[in-house]
Point group: C2
Chain length 326, copies 2
């Protein structure tokens, strides 16, 4: 006789329950009652976003058969590392809004943002250590190194980003490295072997590239209400992303974009003109095409992974990246 209770249990999607456990691990690392600074970090973590990276880690770990305990720690470590990098990046960029709430450095001093970011990095490292899996901890630390390295390269370059190649190098470090970690480290937890781990990392990296390109597309096409930050913000801060670069390829004589590459300040009216021109031109479609290309490469890597419901869920998630509106 079939035990219907058990059958029910296996049919129910375990992801929401596991994400809840990840949320609890994250919340448990930050004591909002201890100081206004930790309360600020707790708010940023609770504001949360889509939890895409822990979702990826949980699906990947489930696909490869990673042990649930270490997998939860890893998923939380990836999200905490992401949060830590947001805090320091907002300070580096001087951004004022994040996830619809004021950034820490808009409310507090640079000193507070530095320390709160360091605090979050340390919590992330302790969560990663809790997996007790040295290869996964290696990949965690390597991802952090690549993220920091990418920002340093960006800061040290004498001019702004001026080509697709520079842009792709940048987003590979700042975004794809973390997605690669989210999908690849669970394969290491499960001791999945070199080829499977490489395919998992490739899928994660491609997904990250597609995600960041779409993020930069939405920075031009989205509305403040759904983005949680003003539209055209990157360009207004002098950062050229893919839509702007494609527009620049089509209009190489545009003095405004040339000035931004040279890191010269532009008047607000000129910035508004550029944002409007990029919004209504062909550049947005060209950027979406690049994102589709990354999704295709990701799905190719995914096809090298074992079959299963989690693989289908990962494929669906990859497809949804193109259609997202925030």
């Amino acid at each position: 006789m079939i035990n219907t209770q058990d059958t029910m249990m296996t049919v129910v999607d375990p992801l929401p329950a596991r994400l809840g456990q990840v949320e609890a691990l994250l919340a448990g690392r930050v004591d909002a009652n201890r100081s206004p600074l930790e309360a600020g970090l707790a708010r940023l973590i609770a504001a949360g976003g889509k939890r895409l990276r822990p979702r990826l880690a949980l699906l990947s770990g489930s696909l490869f058969g990673a042990e649930p305990g270490p997998l939860l720690y890893l998923a939380a470590a990836v999200e905490m590392l992401h949060t830590a990098s947001l805090v320091h990046d907002d300070l580096v960029d001087g951004a004022g809004l994040r996830r619809g709430v004021e950034t820490l450095n808009a409310r507090w001093s640079a000193a507070a943002s530095v320390l709160v970011g360091d605090f979050a990095f340390t919590q992330a490292a302790q969560l990663a250590l809790a997996t007790r899996c040295l290869p996964a901890i290696d990949l965690f630390t390597e991802s952090m190194r690549r993220m920091v390295d990418g920002e340093l390269t960006q800061l040290a370059r004498p001019h702004g980003i001026s080509s697709r190649a520079e842009y792709f190098d940048w987003i590979r470090a700042k975004t794809a490295a973390l997605f690669e970690l989210a999908v690849g480290a669970p394969a290491l937890l499960a001791e999945s072997g070199g080829e499977i781990t490489a395919a998992a990392r490739d899928f994660g990296a491609a997904l990250g590239m597609a995600f960041q390109v779409m993020d930069d597309v939405l920075d031009f096409t989205g509305e403040t209400s759904s983005l949680g930050k003003p539209a055209g913000q990157d360009l207004c801060q002098g950062v050229l992303t893919l839509p702007a670069l494609i527009h620049f390829e089509a209009h190489p004589a545009d003095s405004g974009l040339r000035a931004l590459v040279e890191r010269e300040p532009l008047p607000a009216a000129e910035l508004e003109r550029l944002v409007a021109a990029i919004r209504r031109g062909e550049a947005v479609a060209g950027a979406v095409e690049e994102a589709r290309g990354f999704v295709s490469r990701g799905l190719e890597a995914l096809s090298r992974l074992p079959e299963g419901p989690e693989r289908l869920a990962l494929a669906e998630l990859a497809g949804s990246i193109i259609d997202r509106d925030n």
Copy 2:
């Protein structure tokens, strides 16, 4: 027949050669040719200071019989973690001189200091990981957590440091945690057992307390040429350290010190008066007495460790902390 060549080898102090290998590991993590930012970090590492923390790690590891390879990585990790914390602390404190050279944030933006510090933290983590010893990596990460936590507590407190207890809590986190790591982690590398590891950590922590107290004494008594930074700097930045707190205990009605506790700005002439008063009063001797007490506690912990030439060297090093002039 005794092989004199071999005898010579064992008599020669191996510490300088091993410190040279640590220097090489540190230098190998930073490529000064890659960007002005990395060049700045390379200069800070090369300026070096006394390399007290790696010395402690090497002596401790040699005493416990830790394997040379992991021990070198650990010693380098501790020094790199120290350097990383200097970069961020200088940003938090707004300090202009460090080791006699301009601090990174005096020359560059806050953004550069944040990222260079993150870069150094990441390099430190990778060096710690290279030991492949999870308990040592745990202690490394816990030390980092304590250091950041101490700075956060300091920043979040509504008033300045106003008592010996607050001061000791602060320096336990910002300095003693790293000394505890330097002496304690090598015991973990050598799997020395709980009691030995605890005694090693106690010795390191006590040494760190004594070192920081003497550092704060020298901030009042030293000259700019030997300190590498202006005398009385902490007080002028509104930070009360032990000599100032002891002076305050003796002069509770001093309106200047009261204002500093309340974090109110003071005119330069008033700060000069306070520095001069503390320099010529009894507070400096009282602070040195506290440092001696920590050295005594350290030597008591040291007596619980195995005998050997390294233990003698550690005892000598502990004694030298009181007599140092920079």
